[in-house]
Subunit: 139 residues, 2 copies
Amino acid sequence: MRFKLILSFLLLTTCFIAFGQEKQPGKSDITVADKGLIKISVMYPYAEGKTFNMEYYETKHMPMVAGFLGSNLVKYTIEKGLSSGIPNQPLPFMAIGTFYVKSFSEYQAAIAPNRDAIRADFANYTNVIPVILVSEVVK
Amino acid sequence: MRFKLILSFLLLTTCFIAFGQEKQPGKSDITVADKGLIKISVMYPYAEGKTFNMEYYETKHMPMVAGFLGSNLVKYTIEKGLSSGIPNQPLPFMAIGTFYVKSFSEYQAAIAPNRDAIRADFANYTNVIPVILVSEVVK
């Protein structure tokens, strides 16, 4: 009888823990949690004769920069430009790499001492100068 | 005694359900699931005299377009341009709205019959012609 009571208590506790974890803001709320984050989008314009090595960018350059950002970095994404969404218009960007951070000033402080290393690495994957947009996630 | 047994069984079942839900591939895998998706990014360039009504865009325009896309639409995001990431450079874009879809051809098929309605709504929130990038999520 006492064993059953203890068992019931243990199961009940486990259930509370399990349900409690479900309700915690975590990865399941990642889309909602993006709201208010700062995006730094490094956009590589397309033009004739311009090149971009996606493999190097994905495996070397972006991980290097991400490594400088510490816990301020929430996530980073990479996209490959396919076409303009408007017929007969040139591709606007060959690639975009985006850092989602909590604080832009912390991002700047982390990048400043590493700027030369980051710029020196550009030549390893592209011959185009990127456009950089700092934006805020509205939704 | 029988009551305790039933109670234990019910609690156990509940626990399995609770834990089971946690392990299901769901929203928590959304970042991984983005890979391979097609992004249609509608980018509104900044220039002097150009305007953008974010409130209208967020509450009216984007929900309207999203409504045309059905189950092909995985999610959509909105960001507000803050500054250029390069000192002394002008803000590249005032705002960007992005649709993440499974199929670009399905997106085109869904937009085509609604293009006039979408374009007619532009004047309600901006006086700038957007640049549209179609890209693939690499990471």
